[in-house]
């Protein structure tokens, strides 16, 4: 019988310090066994997560921050806050690490072919949204969707993730990118203001558009009314939840909201779905 708790061996191929304050680092992991790689990519879609483990430091869930076409690696962008995350921040390319996944439902992007896509992200919750945008930018996939708009906010310029890749988006004409920082900074030529305000300013059309919104709770709280005003019904606003998790497969009981388990029924839900659940968030 397959053991879904059993991690597979991976290796760190590359690490990137993402933010000026060094708190966020990306890790690109490669597979030690070809069969594991095939299994992973047969199942993976943006919005899913994996359980990473370093024996002795335990396991922790992280969203996948890369699209399949980017290469044979899986990227995670990790905030240094506790036991596991401190340990992985000390690791270097070539080091061994274990992984389970992909887990969870991911963004049901295939359901929205032919639609406009609006991505709104704030802070380091941008990880899986970046994977989604990257996925959509693959040539054979990009043509299946209409306009692609990304609104991405951070406190200050140094806190944006994936700076190099994102810079290349400005040069493309098949993605509309709006980056915003909280307060003006010398040399900053993009938007200034909080994500909800910037969203209101840009006022993307809700017509035939589906939105994906991830960020800190306060950003979500103030962005939802803006989207509502613009005419987005809750069925067309997706978000990804972060609950404390252990097993990641709906067995350990840890991550429930009402009768849903965020690890297996989520982490991606529409706000229409969330409204049906008890407010246990």
């Amino acid at each position: 019988m397959h053991n879904p708790y059993k991690p597979i061996p991976m290796r760190i191929a590359r690490t990137v310090v993402e933010t000026d304050d060094q708190s966020l680092k990306s890790f690109e992991l490669v597979f030690e066994r070809e069969a594991d790689r095939e299994k992973f990519f047969a199942k993976y879609r943006p919005g899913q997560f994996c359980q990473l483990s370093i024996f002795g430091k335990g396991e922790a869930p992280f969203g996948v921050a890369s699209a399949a076409w980017e290469g044979d690696f899986v990227r995670f962008t990790i905030n240094k806050i506790g036991v596991f995350t401190r340990a992985i921040h000390k690791m270097k390319s070539g080091d061994a690490i274990s992984m389970r996944g992909p887990l969870g439902n991911g963004f049901p992007i295939e359901d929205w072919k032919g639609s406009n896509i609006l991505i709104i992200g704030g802070g380091y919750a941008f990880t899986t949204l970046f994977a989604l945008a990257q996925h959509l930018l693959a040539p054979e996939i990009r043509s299946q969707y209409n306009d692609l708009t990304v609104i991405y906010g951070a406190r200050e310029p140094g806190l944006f993730l994936y700076k190099e890749e994102i810079e290349t988006w400005y040069k493309r004409d098949d993605i509309n990118l709006y980056q915003a920082i909280d307060r003006p900074v010398e040399g900053w030529s993009h938007f200034v203001g909080y994500v909800p305000t910037v969203t209101k300013e840009i006022a993307p059309s809700a017509e035939n558009t589906v939105s994906f919104v991830c960020g800190p709770p306060v950003m979500i709280k103030f962005t939802l009314p803006v989207l509502d005003e613009l005419g987005f019904p809750p069925e067309r606003i997706y978000t990804s939840l972060e609950k404390r998790m252990k097993c990641g497969i709906g067995k350990c009981g840890r991550c429930n909201v009402g009768h849903k388990y965020i690890c297996k029924d989520g982490p991606v839900f529409t706000f229409a779905e969330l409204r049906e659940l008890p407010a246990d968030l």
Partner: protein, 334 residues
């Protein structure tokens, strides 16, 4: 198929099983009984009143269980390290609990191999309760003292003998060689069963309980009923249908283990950001009750409580789940 076993022959039968399997039965430990592997058939105490304090779920989901031995970064799983077992004298409520947990562990996209393997390797010789005790309420939650669901064999005490209702091949392997029960003995066993269920009180009605609890989610009901709760978690650790577990690494032993956990602790739902969706006892008591009487019903169409009475009996402040459900049903929002 009904077999008959004189009580005096039970030790011999247990001895026979012990040649091929590990046999677990209630064994007296001071004021309590607990399911233990027998080293001598005489240790089995089938007259244990009420239920064992420590729930037999531990034989399938141990309080602490090694999941992996870790060597040079390789995780070697331990699920196959279980051989043939017989559990003798488990009551219907605890057997029901195993079935309810099968829903959690064996259905959906992922199956739990540790649970599956132990279930597969185990024969359940269930002992019906001829004399349910004061804190039992199985008949209120869709079961009964002689509920045969999940039993490989059901033993019914008719005085000097047990009538054994052998329900499948697993049961057949243990009881097949015994003589058939007579018509009279079978009739007697039916009377015992009917009398036991008829004698039980129904402390509450479950009709509509799921929707009622959903409607009370934000109500003053929860702050009120939780007031005496200490948050000690005893009710959940002893509950046969509570299954939450934590996964931790025991680095010195090179093991990844899982341990019982409880939604009654604050840290259980503490998130990385510092946010906690269940910061006080109110949310935690609500989670415990709603998991069993609303969410479980939503998912499996069954109440996730078997009426075993452990949480009633062992709560240090006498918080009584029967009273909570009764109050919920009667609660009118002011």
């Amino acid at each position: 198929m009904y077999k008959v076993l004189p009580k005096t022959d039970l030790p011999k039968l247990i001895g026979r099983w012990m040649e091929q399997a590990t046999v677990y039965a209630p064994v007296r430990q001071g004021d309590f009984t607990k399911f233990e592997p027998l080293s001598d058939p005489a240790q089995a105490d089938l007259y244990y009143a009420a239920n064992t304090r420590y729930p037999p779920k531990s034989l399938f989901l141990p309080q602490s269980e090694v999941m992996f031995r870790v060597k040079d970064g390789e995780f070697e799983s331990t699920e196959d390290e279980v051989s043939s077992r017989v559990i003798l004298g488990i009551h219907s409520c605890d057997t029901r609990a195993l079935q309810l947990l099968d829903g959690v562990f064996l259905t959906g996209d992922y199956q739990d191999p540790y649970w599956a393997k132990k279930r597969e390797q185990t024969t359940l010789v269930v002992l019906g309760c001829a004399d349910p005790c004061e804190t039992c309420f199985c008949t209120s939650v869709g079961s009964g003292p002689f509920d045969k669901r999940g039993a490989d064999v059901m033993l019914i005490d008719i005085g000097d003998e047990y009538v054994a209702d052998v329900r499948n091949e697993k049961g057949q392997a243990l009881f097949g060689h015994l003589p058939d029960a007579s018509r009279k003995q079978i009739d007697k066993s039916r009377q015992v069963q009917a009398a036991a269920a008829a004698g039980m009180k129904k402390p509450f009605e479950t009709e509509g309980i799921k929707d009622k609890l959903y409607s009370l989610f934000d109500s003053d009901f929860w702050p009120k009923i939780q007031q005496s709760c200490l948050g000690c978690g005893a009710c959940t650790f002893l509950c046969p249908t509570c299954y939450c577990f934590d996964i931790v690494d025991e680095a010195q032993r090179n093991e990844r283990v899982r341990n019982w956990d409880t939604c009654m602790f604050r840290i259980y739902s503490q998130e990385a950001s510092g946010h906690n969706p269940r910061p006080t006892n109110t949310e935690r008591v609500r989670q415990r009750i709603m998991h069993k009487y609303a969410y479980f019903v939503e998912l499996y169409d069954e109440i996730g409580c078997t009426g075993c009475g452990r949480c009633v009996r062992y709560c240090p402040v006498d918080l009584d789940i029967r009273q909570i459900i009764r109050s919920a049903q009667a609660w009118e929002e002011s």
